[in-house]
Symmetry: C2
Subunit: 672 residues, 2 copies
């Protein structure tokens, strides 16, 4: 790296104080010489081999992408099943299941594989998630050796397909209150599974409408008249292709997307399930009907029960981020090829990507895609750590993981929706043709923002953790409990309990000026310490604001529901601010691990672009809270534009580095 | 209307100067008693009967909405054709064609009918647009009596289906440079139609892949070695279901949406078209090969040639706005019914719509839907006026119409994309099921932002008009011509030429303070004069800024292409600011025509909510340009929240007033 590149300046120590745009705004960077495989290797990270393996499998099945455009629904579903089963045969899909049953025994690898599947047909991805992640994962984590011996090898090989039957029509985001019942009958040593009313049917269940033979059914357990909360039972739902006795199955029908997945509804009418089918890692029922559980902490049991959901959230977030890469690759490559006015004027035949507006539309999204990629790497690593040695992980680590998984999933999947839409529009009418990929991307990813936890609900979960410092009762404390908890604390206590306060003090030490109220005025815009301090300030200030408003609302006599309702938008904004800070930290930290090189310069440009475009998007807030002057706010916009111009010449290489195989991009007319 | 309602205060004379939040923020409005049919009648306006007629036709064919979920593509296309032909038999589709051929002879009615079609299957809407608007409209407006006598009755009745073959693969937004040629051969008195290369094929042409018999083909006319620019010829493309000799037809295949429309590609290989098939209202070729045209002004001929496009843009903008109403109706009614946590706590079983965040997500969009409805009414009225007496309309009126149609189309269709996405997410996983309507709404409307003119290109057209005061050469002056034009003027001249300068001066007279720099500090937030002045200031300031930057760029030696590229985002932001101001004016003006009533109070709440949420969304800009203090900016956010709470109790009535028949909403599970 040479001294004249802006990124080097950025990664060095803080510069002299400036109040005007950073002086390097006008400096033209020398042309960077990028080695695409180097960046790909950096992105692929520890699991590069796994990712490469999945890329190759996807290329083998690339034909499915075109077939999916026109296959009738049931044929499409069967094709997807065949691909999933075929992939299972190669070991690409069950990397999270134990080796002794044919799996890969590596949770981190399973996330990496899943993320890479997002380059291909997303019904395949989703069916893999249902089969190996949710269904297989539930039996793995909630069951014991007898269950594993009985089913796991068939599950890992794709010979036995099954469902994860948790969600009920009436209880989308409220798992603890599902209403399906499982009542133990000691006479026959069976559980009797019942759907008490239509609102308690299991809904949107993948693998239910056509292919699943078993289902892990979540139900309220009742033994000898006592209620023990939600437990899971392995229940046969289909025998020789017909619904099992007492089971009614409905097809959810055509969906907005993911029509290669057979979602269905399940109703149980006194279905008898053998006692042994209770997944009994954390609680069991004796033949005589005695309920026992080793876990003292109800919260911990609940969390462990929901462990598969955490893994699902990490998976879906990663899938969203990787689906966004496909869209970015097509739109950037198209914009580097297409001229706005082909016939052109003298010397003015610019490519679409030479236009300022087009850069503005695509390049900050490209930067955010990279940022989210690295944030996803962090949360996937945490997941691997916690779940590889579940007994070693402490309560706090689990809760931090739960929160981070929720936040990354929310931002990653919203990002996918936004990127795919912008990229579709940026490819004009041609982007509307199914052969150009956006149709499936848009339709299939749409539900990512909603399933495995609605994004708004997930951000409330994140905020709850921030406001209560992940205190005891966090997992099962609902929003009203949170309001009461916060209302019971002094606001200062909330701030003390959260980390950000100290973090912000620490960051002030490394910024110029040092005086309380000048750090934000004097630092260089490209100083990552400045960028982080801005996002940390916002987060801290918002947490304090929400705490104050909750206390104030309760003090004025509001009930928790009303109080929560009026602060809800602040709660969600706070969570978003928190996650955006985590994402920037992940990017900045990752950059520190990279060797000096042109590739590092390039990625540092993206890191700056992510940081400043994030601040710019909320610059009204920063002005309102005294952290941006009008001049500095304008300077940030100027800098974002300058960064876009600097990224433009390397944009194609930066999307090539995602390593989406050409066969999966399709879009021959667009990108040739 | 009683004196204690906030809307009354808003529509009265300016209040006492305040620097803090308006005092009525905390005032609870009395419960409004709304008569839904009164509001529907107000929205339906002059063409209430036409709209009602179309609603009834749509209800008859409501079954198509469910069928469309699962029909194979070709069957779906045929069903759509059948519905279109059936509707044509009732006269609901050809209201813009002349009465003597079975049409309705009323352009305004045809727009109203088309807008209402957007409540139903959007493939039907699109095919109606292709057949009666584009194909029929081109023959009507570009042809003469012999053409009308020969084809119009069959077109109006749906017996003869045809195409509007303008767009070429290589020239999405650049119609003047299409490359298909029509060379006159005096020997046989025919034109020879040729597609010189694959990039000049006609692309995305509706009715081409399956049903069209004729096409109005736009081609570069060459007579006796001389080139006369783009002209239109009626060309048979299909005979007895087979492609006509020399015509090659390809199917565009599966699309993201609108799969009931048979889009295709047309290639012409020396296709011979009789001389009489040249649509010769503005130019003709004699049997011997002499070209004559009555129109001196090339600009006017070009505009008239493109007249069908202007009508198309007004139609598509209206369709987008009305499709958004369907989504709003479902999401608001669902949110008024669904509880976030069904099982609930003591007294806290709030409905989704009681939550602050949910109100924030939906209600400003509801306000904007109303605002755009009224803005659409204005542009549809202008279209009716100009095209009902085309010879009477002056150049300026045509250009203002063209600009307004472009701007309303862009904002209306982006609004549809945004509303449908937000509403889908607000309905959770259930929103993902096709039976709940969002699947089709989302997929089918997606291309609205691109077809009939890409939205970004359309906003550039709007900005061009603002910067050049719709001066001569406007229509055919491209972006580089615009740069040169502006660079040749003094900046002051640009500002003088535009209207906004004077408009803003005028508005200052009616605001309190009166002094140059205080009008924005002292007016009440709910004073429409204040709201309009803010949007006008922004527009004027942006126009001046773009003009200055263009001049500066050219003065510093930049070529027009580079200069345009660097100002492009400002150009587009300027156009958007202009259109948002027009939309607010339309809403405010419309409110003045309404009799005092609870319904007026309700709509005034929406008008305030539209105005303030629009200012809020760009509050960073207003702060950066000295028009909002931090305190006032925060006060606007507070006021938007207050308005949301006031609109919440009447939200269901306000969506019911759109008059979307229940049969078309489907979504039985969601809204019962």
């Amino acid at each position: 790296m040479t001294a004249d590149t802006p990124a080097q300046i950025a990664s060095d120590a803080p510069r002299d104080p400036v109040r005007e745009p950073a002086p390097d705004v006008q400096v033209e960077p020398r042309q960077l010489s990028l080695d695409v495989p180097t960046i790909t290797a950096f992105l692929d990270g520890h699991y590069a081999e796994v990712r490469q393996e999945v890329r190759e499998r996807l290329v083998e099945h690339a034909g499915l992408l075109a077939e999916a455009d026109d296959l009738p629904k049931d044929d499409y579903r069967d094709r997807v099943r065949d691909v999933v089963v075929d992939m299972a045969g190669t070991g690409a899909t069950a990397m999270g299941l134990p080796k002794e049953y044919g799996g890969g025994g590596d949770i981190g690898a399973s996330i990496a594989a899943f993320e890479t599947l997002a380059f291909g047909d997303l019904s395949v991805l989703t069916k893999v998630g249902v089969q190996f992640g949710l269904f297989g994962g539930a039996i793995l984590q909630l069951g014991t050796k007898s269950h594993h011996d009985r089913w796991m090898a068939d599950i890992a090989a794709g010979r036995l397909l099954g469902c994860f039957a948790m969600t009920e029509s009436g209880h989308g985001s409220n798992v603890a209150d599902i209403e399906t019942t499982a009542v133990y009958d000691p006479e026959t040593q069976e559980f009797v599974l019942t759907t008490p009313h239509a609102g308690a049917r299991k809904d949107y269940i993948g693998n239910a409408a056509r292919h699943g033979e078993l289902a892990v059914v979540f139900a309220q357990l009742e033994v000898a008249g006592e209620h023990h909360g939600v437990h899971a039972l392995v229940t046969p739902i289909r025998v020789d292709g017909e619904p099992a006795p007492g089971v009614r199955i409905e097809d959810c029908g055509t969906k907005l997307g993911l029509n290669g997945v057979d979602n269905g509804r399940l109703y149980f009418d006194g279905v008898r399930v053998p006692r042994e089918n209770l997944l009994d890692r954390f609680a069991s029922v004796s033949p005589e009907g005695v309920y026992t559980s080793d876990i003292e902490s109800q919260g911990r049991r609940f969390f462990t029960m929901l462990g598969t959901l955490v893994q699902g959230r990490v998976s879906v977030g990663g899938a969203g981020i990787n689906a966004a890469k496909v869209a970015m690759a097509i739109a950037v490559k198209y914009a580097d090829r297409r001229r706005q006015f082909e016939a052109g004027e003298e010397g003015t035949e610019q490519l679409l990507l030479d236009y300022g507006m087009h850069q503005r539309r695509l390049l900050p999204l490209l930067a955010r895609t990279y940022a989210l990629h690295f944030a996803q790497e962090v949360v996937a690593g945490q997941l691997h750590e916690v779940f590889s040695a579940p007994d070693a992980a402490d309560e706090k680590a689990r809760k931090l993981l739960e929160s981070r998984a929720a936040g990354t999933k929310a931002l990653g999947t919203w990002h996918a929706t936004r990127v795919i839409q912008e990229c579709r529009e940026a490819c004009g009418g041609a982007g509307y043709l199914a052969e150009n990929r956006f149709a499936a991307l848009k339709a299939d990813t749409d539900v990512f923002t909603t399933f495995e936890g609605d994004n708004h609900v997930l951000l409330q979960l994140v905020a709850k953790g921030l406001l209560t410092d992940y205190s005891s009762g966090f997992a099962d404390m609902d929003q009203f409990g949170m309001v009461r908890f916060v209302a019971g604390l002094a606001v200062d206590t909330v701030l003390e309990k959260t980390n950000v306060h100290k973090v912000l003090e620490r960051i002030r030490d490394v910024l110029p000026g040092g005086r309380e109220d000048e750090w934000d005025q004097e630092a260089g815009l490209l100083d990552p310490n400045y960028q982080l301090a801005m996002l940390r300030f916002r987060e801290e200030h918002m947490i304090g604001g929400v705490a104050r408003r909750i206390k104030g609302g309760v003090d004025r006599g509001g009930n928790p529901g009303e109080v929560f309702s009026t602060v809800q938008d602040h709660v969600i904004a706070t969570a978003r601010a928190h996650v955006e800070r985590l994402v920037l930290e992940a990017f900045v930290d990752k950059m520190e691990t990279m060797e000096e090189s042109d590739e590092k310069v390039a990625l540092n440009l993206l890191c700056d672009l992510y940081a400043l475009s994030t601040i710019e998007a909320d610059r009204a807030w920063f002005m309102e809270h005294g952290r941006l002057t009008v001049q500095r706010s304008k300077a940030i916009t100027t800098e974002v534009n300058a960064l876009c111009r600097k990224v433009r010449p390397i944009a194609v290489e930066l999307v090539d580095a995602f390593g989406v195989p050409d066969e999966l991009l399709r879009a021959e007319d667009l990108i040739g």
